[in-house]
Symmetry: C2
Subunit: 300 residues, 2 copies
């Protein structure tokens, strides 16, 4: 007897990942769509649809995660700063192209949910997840449920103001966490400091070779993440903060500074209680997270 | 038949308020103890004890709120920056002086609980409460319960970093919200800008008379509170943020700037969804909040 399979679709700011996932969280097939410029929702869903048809994927249901904030009562996307989409009736648009879509969720919430279901086997029930990608997202798990807040947009950790005198963010605010540690902004910083066009993963390779400027950039990133973590601990006092996303691999270059900053900002009575962790799920987190939305449906 | 009465004790950074409270939230008798310098826990509880005995108060049970963060599993006070108390076994020390103490809670959590029980009649079930007093506290109500976090110290909104280049806070961190809007720091700012020693309530009177410097100080306070509110909305997306405490009365001088800042920082898609409110309970919030801990016991 064949195991049940679901489709996990992770619509990010620069690419969409699609995976056919088993109940045991194995990705048996996957596809990536990379955008050259900001696509419309129709363009993205149309491309997803042709991938599904071309690969003749058979699945029981489909979960979609998306880099933006949602209103769950209507399955509407309110706003995605990175995709530049606003007020999209996801259910309607996705339904026109993709069969059996059952759940929509913010991408960072879905990642947190995937880590909760798969990596933590539903045993660590209270943590905050920070996704480091093109943007910076957050997912809050409280008592084994995604904490969505009153209108569904809780966990927008990337748009927390870290320094009001900072750079303008895609969202319109100044000095958001994302403007210090998001891959897009990091690339700009690299260009300025190294006078080279490098992606954050190339910056990581440079740091590995011992380049002091590259290491300094990661250290500054650690400091800003430390301020964010201290704020999160002050506000939410989670059992753990878990990092995931593309830059998790470079943790040896920013984690020490991050933890040191948390210690300085929180003081001796609080700094050691919330664990700072990194997820082991790697780049599959997005797809697994989207799949977990339908493998383990969650209704707030 | 006499109604049940409870004792609500609110131990703050500069004073302790004690009230005999009915089940209908009426304060039938109250006392205030003002400290001249940082007292020890024993000194405070001894003074409370003599007030109780002198007034011959009869009560069924007693709730105590305190300006610091607690570990609920052990009823220990971990740290109070304003009282300069750390690692205090509250149950043991309070029990030595005061009979029938049933609950301990962080003061801002207790205020939020009091607003939830009394002002909102348990009908508004999701909101964040910010207390503006000597310090700045926070209480988070989620689904009609106090959200305490993993170790009991959630809601420390006053120690959120608003500007990392800011002044040193009592807690050891730099640029905490409290260093911009807490009464203690506000007094220092008044001294510097007006060259006068005024309390924040005297500053309010000055603003009422049309003093532009006084009004400017409140406006700056509104801006910092706006940054904090935007962060809270990004992280928690609460249904409402409710202000309480000594400076609520001066709201006409900071609320406009606060709301404007939230609007700028969150953008058009998010800024109007979370209501910004002020509590009507006034200076009795502390005592009522502490009383509500035993009138409506809450166990996380």
């Amino acid at each position: 007897m064949e195991t049940k399979k679901v489709l996990g679709i992770d619509i990010g700011g620069t690419k969409t990942k699609i995976g056919l996932v088993t109940q045991q969280y194995n990705i048996v097939d996957k596809q990536i769509i990379i955008y050259t410029q900001n696509p419309t929702p129709e363009e993205v869903f149309e491309k997803i649809s042709s991938k599904i048809q071309y690969n003749k994927w058979m699945y029981d249901s489909c979960g979609i995660s998306i880099a933006g904030s949602l209103e769950h009562s209507t399955d509407k996307l309110i706003f995605s700063p990175n995709l530049k989409w606003a007020n999209i009736d996801l259910k309607k648009v996705a339904g026109r192209y993709i069969p059996k879509v059952k759940e929509f969720e913010n991408d960072a919430n879905a990642s947190a949910w995937g880590i909760y279901c798969h990596e933590y086997g539903m045993k660590i029930k209270n943590f905050v997840c920070i996704t480091l990608g093109a943007g910076v997202g957050g997912g809050i798990i409280v008592n084994g449920k995604i904490y969505r807040g009153a209108h569904g947009s809780a966990g927008e950790l990337g748009h927390m103001t870290i320094d009001p005198s900072g750079e303008k963010c895609n969202c319109g605010n100044y000095g958001c966490l994302e403007t210090f540690v998001g891959a897009k902004y990091l690339s700009k910083k690299i260009k300025k400091k190294l006078n080279k066009s490098l992606s954050p993963s190339e910056l990581f390779k440079l740091a590995e070779k011992g380049d002091s400027v590259a290491r300094k950039i990661f250290e500054e990133m650690g400091e800003k993440l430390g301020i964010a973590c201290a704020n999160i601990i002050n506000i939410l006092n989670p059992g753990a903060i878990v990092f995931t996303g593309g830059l998790t691999g470079a943790k040896r270059y920013y984690l020490e500074k991050l933890c040191k900053t948390v210690k300085i900002k929180l003081g001796k009575y609080y700094s050691d209680r919330t664990k700072i962790l990194t997820s082991k799920m790697g780049e599959e987190t997005g797809i697994i997270g989207a799949a977990c939305l339908v493998l383990h449906p969650f209704h707030a």
